[in-house]
Each structure stands twice: as structure tokens, then as C-alpha cells.
Amino acid sequence: MTTETLIWLIPLPPALAFFLIVLFTNKSKALSHSVGVGAAILSFLGSMVVFFRAVSVEHLGEHPFESSIPWMPTGDTWFNIGVLIDPLGAAVLFFVSITIFMIFLYSVGYHNFGQPAGDHDRKGLPPHGATVEEHGHKHVVPSVEPMYSRFFAFLGLFAFGMYTLVVSDNLLTMFVGWEIMGLCSYLLIGFWYGKPSARAAAIKAFMTTRIGDVFMLLGIGLLYSVAGTLNFREIFGNEELMHTLAVPGATLFGLSLAGLIALLLFIGTVGKSAQWPLHVWLPDAMEGPTPVSAMIHAATMVSAGVHAVIRMFPLLSLDHNTMGVVAFIGTFTAIFAATIAVAQNDIKRVLAYSTISQLGFMIAALGIGAYVAAAFHLITHAFFKALLFLGSGSVIHGMEHGVLHTGNHSVDPQDMFNMGGLRNKMPITFWTFVIGGFALSGFPLITAGFWSKDEILADAWGHGHLVVFLTLALAAFMTAFYTMRQITLTFLGEPRTKEAEHAQETPWTMTVPLMVLSIFAVGYGWVGIPEDFPVLGGLVPNWFHDFVGHTLHEVPEAVEFSWAPLLTSLGVALGGLFLGWFYYRNVNSAKEDFFQIALLKNKYYFDEAYDFVFVKPAIWLSEVFTYQWMDKGAIDGFLHIFGPTTGGIGGFIRNYIDLPVINKFIGDGSADVVQWVGRSLRPIQSGRIQQYMMLSLVVLVVIGGALLYFLLGL
């Protein structure tokens, strides 16, 4: 099979799995998850083959794997869709396939509680979180699984979307994958739709990202109408077009065409990658099942936003105004989300804000032109954040065990202050979590996070963006701090609740993915060590920079090595970790925590503000203005004038013309005449048929004779 064909086939197994599960196998849990995992394995194998073939090709940047077919006629031309694997695509495909596979595997374990089917898991019950009334009293349903198969179906569809996005050679199919992921994220966040919070979160996620998507659609439309194509390589390879696009001040706000398009596309990314100001959905999205959080909100979907910007980087780089906006938003988001993360108690929420923050890092890197660094951080972050989410899921799972054991359902298994001392109960989870956490903090030298984050800082320093550098450094410090806070509160110390005491390690399907991912969380950094790094530089060739850098025609120069960023990153990572441990080793409850500041805890009141500024007016505009005032009031009110008016005219005509003149005089008068005539002629009708015939014949003879006589002259 040629590589191109194989690439075409990569997204298909999960999609088929989706239809298979939905249409046929949804009655059987085992069959459904087998189908799902099988599809993930198939795609994973295919991706690996493609990846290694791609790696072995020289100058993949100039001769990527690509193939396309005509899809949609547009006038004289056809719109083609196709697949493209260039170095960036290959690198992304690599981590995407691994994380997707791992998450599928993890899901099998996460959703089987290892317990016999019982009252909590029978058919017909509403899903997790819903309130049911049984035996005379109401209670919240525990984690029952009536929708196990559905979960794998959604995951399959999601994987399809992600693979589609990665292998697309044009913006449109990329957008298709993008939106399908949006749908799946909606469905999966709202998976426990019985909970009002989940259903609100799902809608919030979908609508917030849709704001970005709408702008992105505009951007795509604009690009398409300007360039006449949406194929990446055709656009970027067209020098003339790029020059036209780059003419400054051609559009609004002094932006060039390219700048406007890139800005519009970037707004899509802001929505998808949860950047300020559209970040509000991601923390709420933690309502979804944990593997979903890991997959969607750490590894894949949010990365897709960054991936899209990296893809469109040549366009972006044409206008420095847009670059400035991007850099600003990225940097601001990084520090902004980090501050909120410090004040969160929910284990997943912390990770969510950390994700936002880390994505801010990448966006900022793009804003300052360091797209390779962004891509590098994208991949390492995907590994260790997936690891962390899965680890947190494992923790929650363990805690749920405890909750089920004690039967005290009022204890929130996700609140870190309910945990503590889990390192002994869940050793594998603990160690992998530590690895992930250290990678996130950028623990020097051995973790992947260090290398990627260091590269971003170095780029910011090297390109002279001092503000960006300082802000990101502060954000990195806080990252290390809240990560260590999390580890300390969760795993170290003594169990603070009974439930924590009864927590236990999770099954192998959950721990194996953790271990596999932790290997990558450490090892992936080693492929991207800068060449001129002291001691370690050159030990391992800087393969990543070399490989991904060739995606574009102009390979970006690696920044000069400099001690300042290195020392900074060393300092912030170690300092943050230490401070985090030092402060939180003795904190036993939320009240003792200094950082429980209302402003931070309430996320700077963004939700409330948005509700006041956007949601409420939109509802008023819909329900009151459009429907009640405009449609019902103005338009229909205007129409209703016609009814009485016509009725009045009709009444006039009837009363003064119809009744007296037409009815009385013409109508009744003529009827009277006819009646009189009829009465006079009545005796003729004797009822005797022969008499009738005779009469008619006589008349016929007479008339016939008369006719003959007068007309023909006979």
C-alpha cells in the first residue's frame, strides 16, 4: 500500500467504529469497547507506519506525502480535498496517535469499576449525577454506566475528527475535523447530561468555541476567495499570492489581507485552544469523564488550535500587527490562567487552568515567531498533560472506590483537600503523576517540559521580546508552584478523609497508559535539545528542530544559546517546586490556604461578566426584542390592522349594496318571474314517457319542416 493510500485510511477506522457501535454493537459493552480499541489500534499502527516512512524520507518538507481528489464543483473549477503529511503533520500524527490509543485503552479501565453488576448499574437508570426517586426518597445516582458503548462511539468519532484534522491538506477539511471534534467535545462534556452543570458546561463549550469558529469560517471564506484555493502548500508556495496578501493596510485596522485572514483564523484558535478571552469553557469542560478531559482538553483538541496556527504560520508571519496580537494574547493567557490555577481545589480544574496557561505559552511562542518551539511544546505538553489528566482520573477513580466503600456520597472525590497520602495507596499513579508534574513544571534536564519551555523562553529572550520573556518566566514559576501544590496536597502527607484511606490502585488498563505516557513525558524532550546547549548539546542531535523546521521553505534559525533564559528557567522551576512543597506540606484544609482569594477562586468573575454582557442581552434580544416586540408586536400588529379594515369594507358593501339592490331587486325578482313561468308550464309534465316523446317529435317535425321550408326553400 502506498503511503498516500495509507494516510487516506488512517481516519477511517474510528469513524467506522462510531457507526458500528451506534448502529449495531451498542447492546454489548465488551463488543463496543473492543471495536473502539481495535479501531484505535488500527489507526495507531497506520500512523506509526506513516510516521516512520515520513522520517526516513529526505527533504520531506519539499516533497511531502500528498494526494488529493476533486470533491466539490465550484463553477469551472473543482474544489479538491486531500491528505498531506509533511514534517509538522508527521510529528503531530505521532503524538496524536499515541495519546489517542492510550486514552482508548485507559477508558476501558476507567469505565469498568471492577464491580459486579448491581443496583447501581442496571438498565434503565438515568446516567451518572441524575437524581432519581426510588423507594420513596430521592438520591443522586452513583456512577452507573448505561452509556458505556456510547462513550466509545463518541471517542471514535472524536478520533476521526482529530485524524482528519491532522492529515488534511486544506483548511476546509481541517475545519471539518475541527468542528466534528467540537461536536464530540459537546457530546462528551455533556456525557453526564443528567447533571445540570454538565449540560450547561457542554453548551458553554460549544458556544464559546463556535464564536471562534464563526470567525474562522469567515477567515476561510476570505482566504478562499482571495487565494482561490485552500490547499496549504498551494497557498504558501505561491510567491505572488503571498506578496499580494502581505500588502500592509489593505483592510480594516491597518491590517494587511494576510493579517486579517490570520487574525480571523486565530480567533478560531482562541476559541478552540481556550485562550483569553474565550477561555471560560475549558475549566467547566471538566464535567466530562476524565479520559475525555485528557483527550480533548489536554492532548488533542486544544492542541488542534495551536496546530492550526502553526499550519497557517506563514500567513501569520506576513503581518507583524497580527503577530503582536497573538503574542499578547498568548502571554497574557499564560500568566492569567496560572494565577487562577493556584486558587483551585478541584484536581482536574487545576490541570485545566494549567492547560490554558501552557497553551498560552505556545501561542506566545508563535506570536514571537518561534513556531518550532511552539510545536515542540505542543507535543511534549500533550504527552505530560495527558499523563497528568489520566493520572488525576486514576486518583479520582481511587477516591471513588473509597466513596463507594464508605458510602458517604457527600464527599467530593475530586477535591484535593479531601485527599492526602495517596502515594502509598496508589504508587504507580503517584510516580507517574510526579513525572508528569515535574515535566509540566519544567524540572531541569531530565523532563521534556524543561526542554520545550526553555526553548520558548530562549526564543523570547533571543528575539528581544523582554516583556514576553519576563511574563512567561513568572508564569513558569507559578506553574511549578501550583503543580507542587497539587502533588503535595494529593499524594504527600497523611490521608485527610476516610475515603482517601480506602482509595486503592486502579486496574492495569489504566496504569499501563500512565506508564507509557510517562516514558514519553520524559524521553520526548531529548529529541529537541539545542545543539549549543552546554554539556548535553550535541549529545543527541536536535532532530526535532531539524525535522519540523523543514516544514516551511525558510528554515528558522535556531537562537543563539544564552545563559539568561537557562538560568531563569532553572530558577523558576526549582524555586516554584520547592516553594510549593514548602508551603503546602502543612496545609490541611482550604481555610488554611492563603491563596484562596475570592478574585482568583472566582476566575476574575469572567463567567459572571460574560453572563451579564453577552448571555443575558442575547436572551433579551431573542425573547423580548425579536419575538415579542418586533415579530409579535410590530409586524403582526401591522398585519392585524388589515383584518378589521377589510371587514369594515365588506360590511358596508353587504349592508348597503348587496342586500337591498342585488338580493332584493335583481335576485328575488328574477326568481319570482321564473317561478311564475314554471307554475304555468307544470301541467305539461304528465310523467308519461311516450307523451313526452311524442311531443318532442312533433316539435321536431314542425321545426324541421319549418327549417326545410324556410332555409332550404323546399
Partner: protein
């Protein structure tokens, strides 16, 4: 050979006899007999005109056949009516069946 006029006069005679039957007979069945005679007279004309006109134009014969169908239908319905009337009024004398005026 026989000229066309002979057939026409023959048919006219038959028609007139049928007409007399229709007008003069008291019995409803007999009236129907007269109608049959008239229909046959018409048919003779049709056949004669076919034979004496353009012979490849089959309209005459086709019309004759349709008249057959009409005659059959007429007899079936007519006699059914006569029988029905007879059942109800115990008479088939046309002059006595004068409900038509109501």
C-alpha cells in the same frame, strides 16, 4: 348492383317502424323492442356508408360495434328497470308508470 339509396330507404323504413313501436306500444318491453329496431336501422346506415364510402376507413364498422355495445347496455339496464318497476308496481304498461312527474 344495389345502390346506396336502397339501403338508406330500407334503414329509414326500419327506423320509422321502430319509432312507431316506441310511440304506440303500451308495453314497456315492446317499447324497448322498438328502440332495438331503431338502433338496427342506424347500424345498417353505418355499415352501408362504410361499404359505399372509403372502404379502408373503418369508422363505420367501429361505430356499428359501439352501437352494439350501447344496445346491449341499453337492453340490460332497460329490462332490469322494467323488471324492477314490475316488481314494485305490478305493471309494465308505460302509461301507468307515470311517477316521473313527481
Amino acid at each position: 348492383m344495389v345502390p346506396l339509396s336502397w339501403y338508406l330507404i330500407f334503414a329509414a323504413g326500419l327506423f320509422s317502424l321502430g319509432l312507431f313501436g316506441v310511440l304506440a306500444r303500451r308495453n314497456a318491453v315492446a317499447i324497448l323492442l322498438g328502440v332495438e329496431l331503431m338502433l338496427n336501422a342506424v347500424n345498417i346506415n353505418l355499415a352501408a356508408f362504410w361499404r359505399y364510402g372509403t372502404i379502408t376507413n373503418m369508422a363505420g364498422q367501429v361505430f356499428a360495434i359501439i352501437v352494439f355495445a350501447v344496445a346491449a347496455a341499453e337492453v340490460a339496464v332497460g329490462l332490469a328497470l322494467v323488471i324492477s318497476v314490475y316488481r314494485r308496481h305490478n305493471t309494465v304498461v308505460a302509461d301507468e308508470i307515470d311517477m316521473l312527474k313527481w
